[in-house]
Point group: C2
Chain length 465, copies 2
C-alpha cells in the first residue's frame, strides 16, 4: 500500500471480489459483493431523495445527436467523450444516437412538454441509471467507460429556489457520505474552470484518499436558465407573465465505492464501514467438527440476525483461510466460537478496524454487537478525519505549494486571485487542481499564492483522481 498505492488498489478490488474484468475495454463487472455495497448506498440515498420530495423517473438511453447539441456549452463539454450508435437493426441510421453521458437534454425536452404554469413547479425528478463516457485511461469505480449513478434534475420558479435546492442536495450527499461511508468531506464551490459545462455554479463534496489524492465525491449544479432557454422550458407565473424556469442537476456515482476503498482500506485489504456493509458480522466456527459447535454457531446466527447483518462460513476450509478472506473483504466484525468458548458461554469478537479481540459473554451479544458496530463506524470516520487533517497544509507561495505536495501530499489551502491563468499555471507546474472554494472561507493571506495579486478566495488544491 505504501509502496505502490495504484497496484494495491487494483489488487484489493479484485481480491475482495468487488469487480472482475471482461473483454469490454474499460468497463467493469460489478460482482455480488461490490453490487451489494452499491445497493446499500442506493437504498440510503434513495430514501432521502424521496423524503425531500423527489420522484424517480426513467429516460431513454440513446439520445439523438442533434438534441445533445442544443445547449452549446454542454456539447463542448461532452462531445469528445461520447459513444455513437450509427447502426440499428442492420441499417445505417439517418442520425447517429449518442449513448447518454448524462441526461440533461432529455429532461430539458420533457420538462418543456409538461411544465406550463407556476402550479407545475417545482418539478423534482431523479433517475438511477447507467451512463457512458469514452475515457482513455480507466480504473474500476474511479473512471470507467460505463458507470452507475443517480442524476437529479429539477425545475424551479426562481433562481433563489434553485440555489436552495442545489445546496440542499449537496447537504444530503455530505450527510450520506459522512454518516454511512464514514468518509469526511469538504463542502465547497467549484471554480469557473472546474464547474459543470453549462452550469451557473457547481457545488462539490471532496474527500481525501489514503495516498493524499482528492476524489470528487458528489456534485450539485445550479444550471440557471441556460438549458431552459435552449429547450424552451417556460411557465406562466401568478401574474400571467411568461417566465423561464431555473434548473439544477446533481449526481453521485459508483465512484463512491472507490472512495470507501481508498479511505478505509489497509494492507490486509478492504475495510467496509458497518452501516454500509452487506455483511456486518461473519461467524467463523473453530474446530467445527467437534460436537455442538456448528449447532451453536447457527443458533447464534439466527439470534443475532435480529440485530445485525450476520453470515456464517461453515465450509470445510481452515479457520486461518477464513480469517484472511473476511479481512480482505473488510467485514467489520469476526465472531469466533469454538468448544472452549461454548463451555464458558462466550465468543471472541475481532474488530476489522483495530484488529483488537474481545471476549464477550453470549448473553450480552445482542446489545454488544450493535454497540461495537457503531463504535467501529465512528472510529473509521474519526481516523479518516484525522488523516485528512494531517494531510492538509497551507501554502503562501508556489515554493511552499510544491514542497508541501512532495513532503506531505494532500490538500493544500492557499489563497487565489480568481484568475483561470493561475489555475492553469498551478496545474502545469504541480499537477494539482483547484478542488473547491470551501463554504467555510478563511482569510489566510492578502495575496494569491500564484501571481501575488489580490486574493479573492481560499481554495483547497490537490492532485485528484
Amino acid at each position: 500500500m505504501e509502496d505502490d498505492f495504484a497496484q494495491w488498489y487494483t489488487d484489493v478490488v479484485k481480491k475482495a471480489d468487488l469487480v472482475d474484468y471482461s473483454s469490454v475495454r474499460g468497463s467493469m463487472i460489478i460482482r455480488p459483493y461490490g453490487y451489494a455495497i452499491w445497493e446499500n448506498i442506493q437504498s440510503v440515498l434513495d430514501r432521502r431523495i424521496k423524503e425531500t420530495g423527489h420522484e424517480n423517473v426513467y429516460m431513454p438511453l440513446l439520445i439523438p445527436q442533434s438534441l445533445l447539441q442544443k445547449e452549446k456549452d454542454h456539447i463542448e463539454g461532452f462531445a469528445p467523450e461520447v459513444a455513437l450508435v450509427t447502426h440499428g437493426g442492420s441499417e445505417e441510421l439517418a442520425e447517429p444516437l449518442v449513448v447518454r453521458p448524462t441526461s440533461e437534454v432529455l429532461f430539458g425536452e420533457h420538462y418543456a412538454n409538461i411544465i406550463h404554469s407556476y402550479r407545475d413547479l417545482p418539478k423534482l425528478y431523479n433517475q438511477w441509471a447507467n451512463v457512458v463516457r469514452w475515457e482513455k485511461t480507466t480504473r474500476p469505480f474511479l473512471r470507467s467507460l460505463e458507470f452507475l449513478w443517480q442524476e437529479g434534475h429539477t425545475c424551479h420558479a426562481t433562481e433563489e429556489e434553485a440555489a436552495e435546492e442545489t445546496r440542499k442536495m449537496l447537504e444530503v450527499y455530505a450527510e450520506v457520505v459522512e454518516n454511512y461511508l464514514a468518509v469526511p468531506v469538504l463542502k465547497g464551490q467549484k471554480t469557473e474552470k472546474e464547474k459543470f459545462a453549462g452550469a451557473k455554479f457547481t457545488l462539490t463534496i471532496e474527500s481525501l484518499m489514503h495516498d493524499g489524492k482528492a476524489l470528487q465525491s458528489g456534485t450539485s449544479h445550479h444550471l440557471g436558465t441556460g438549458f431552459a432557454e435552449a429547450f424552451g422550458i417556460q411557465f406562466t407565473d401568478k401574474d400571467g407573465k411568461l417566465q423561464t424556469v431555473n434548473q439544477t442537476s446533481w449526481g453521485i456515482t459508483t465512484r463512491l465505492i472507490g472512495a470507501l476503498i481508498m479511505v478505509h482500506g489497509d494492507n490486509r485489504g478492504l475495510v467496509v464501514p458497518p452501516r454500509i456493509a452487506p455483511k456486518q458480522v461473519m461467524i467463523v466456527p473453530i474446530a467445527q467438527h467437534k460436537e455442538g459447535v456448528l449447532d451453536k454457531a447457527y443458533e447464534l446466527k439466527d439470534q443475532l440476525s435480529k440485530v445485525a447483518r450476520v453470515d456464517i462460513d461453515a465450509s470445510d476450509k481452515m479457520p486461518g483461510w477464513k480469517f484472511n478472506e473476511y479481512e480482505m473483504k473488510g467485514i467489520p466484525v469476526r465472531l469466533e466460537i469454538g468448544p472452549k468458548d461454548i463451555e464458558k458461554g462466550q465468543v471472541v469478537l475481532a474488530r476489522r478496524d483495530t484488529s483488537e479481540k474481545i471476549i464477550v459473554p453470549i448473553n450480552e451479544l445482542e446489545t454488544k454487537i450493535p454497540a461495537l458496530l457503531e463504535e467501529i463506524q465512528n472510529n473509521l470516520f474519526e481516523k479518516a478525519k484525522k488523516h485528512r487533517e494531517e494531510k492538509t497544509s497551507i501554502a503562501y507561495n508556489m515554493d511552499e505549494f510544491k514542497t508541501n505536495l512532495v513532503e506531505n501530499p494532500g490538500f493544500i489551502k492557499a489563497m487565489w486571485c480568481g484568475s483561470e491563468a493561475c489555475e492553469n499555471f498551478i496545474k502545469e507546474e504541480t499537477a494539482a487542481t483547484s478542488r473547491c472554494m470551501p463554504f467555510e472561507q478563511e482569510h489566510l493571506a492578502d495575496k494569491c499564492v500564484c501571481c501575488g495579486e489580490e486574493a479573492k478566495h481560499l481554495v483547497y488544491w490537490a492532485k485528484a483522481y
Copy 2:
C-alpha cells in the same frame, strides 16, 4: 375501449401519466407514476430472487460484436435487432460494440473465469438493467427500443439441477404476477419454434389481455450446455473429472406494466391492483373551504398512513376533476370527507374496481381499509380469471379454430402433432401463434388440429402482443 383497443391503450398510458414520448424514436420516458409501479414490482420480485439464494451483479452495457457471435443460435436470434456503437471519443472503433440486447455472453465469459470446481456451483446471479432491441413498430411498455428488465443467469453441476432452477423461477414469476399484479397466468413450455435462441427449452407464463390477445409475461430458459461449451465454462467434479456446467436464464420486463393496464383497465382508465399500487387510497376533501374539513382530512391521512399508502389532494381543483383524475390513474380507493361526514363521524369510500360507494365510521377505517384493499385485489384477480375462462375455447379443426378466433378471440386450446410446419401454417392462416404447451396437459383429441396426424401435445394458441 371496445371500439379501438389500441387507441384506448395509447390514451391510458399517456393520460394516466405513466409515460411520455421524446425525440428518441421508439423509446419511452417512464414518468413518476409508471416508474413507481415498476419500483414496486422490482421490490417484490427482488426480495424473492434473493430469498431463493440469488445475488445481484452488474455487467457492462456494451458488448464486443465478436463476443455476441460466439454462440451460433444466439447471434442468429439477436443479430437483426441490435444497435451498434461504431465510434467512441470521436474515433472509429476497431471493433463495433453491441448495445446489450441481453447479457448471456457476458455472463458466459465471466462464469468461465470464476468457476473451476464443483465447490463453485451453483452460481446464481441476477441483474437489473436496461436492454436495447431494434424494433420497427413500438408501443409503450409492450415493445420498445429500450426496456427495463431483470435477467437471471445461473450455472449448475447437472442438467436436472438446471431444470429445477428453470421451473423454480417460473413459479416465482407466476406467484408475483398472480398475487401482486392480479393477472392470472398460464404456465407451460414453448414449442421448439418459439423457444429462446440457443436454449434447450423455454418455460413461459402467458396472460390474456382484455381484447383477447395473449401477452408473454415472463420466460425461464434451460440453456443446457450450449453456451457453456461456447464459452468454456467447466468445472472439476468430485471425482476429479472435467465437466461442463448446465445453465439457465430467466427474465421479466417493464412489459408487465402493459399487462396490468390491458387486463384491469376500463373506459375510465387504469385500474391498479392494491398490492402494487403506489397510492392505495386518495383522500378528496369535499367543500374543503369549510372550517375543519382540511384539518380532519390531513388527520385521517396521517392516521391511515400506518395501514396503507395514502395521499391527499388538497389542491383548489373541483372534487369532480379530482374524481376523474384518480379514476384515470386507477387508484384503488377514493376517500371522500366533507362537513356532513365529519358531523356524522364517517367517510365515503369509493371502490375503483366496482364503482361501489360505502359509508364507513371513521373509527373503523384502520381495519376496514386494509380489508377493502384485499377485497379489491381478489376481485380483480377473479374478474380477470373469469374473463380468461370465457375467452378460452376449444378447436378440433381449422374451421373451428378460425371461427373461434373471430367470434370469441382469446386462447384456443387445440391438439398439435409437434411439427413446425403446422405452427407455420396456423400462423399464416390465422395470425395466431402457439403460446405454450401447458404443464397441465389434457388429451382433447387424437389428431392434430391442423394436419390431422397423431396429436402429441395440447397447445394454447392466440394472437399475441
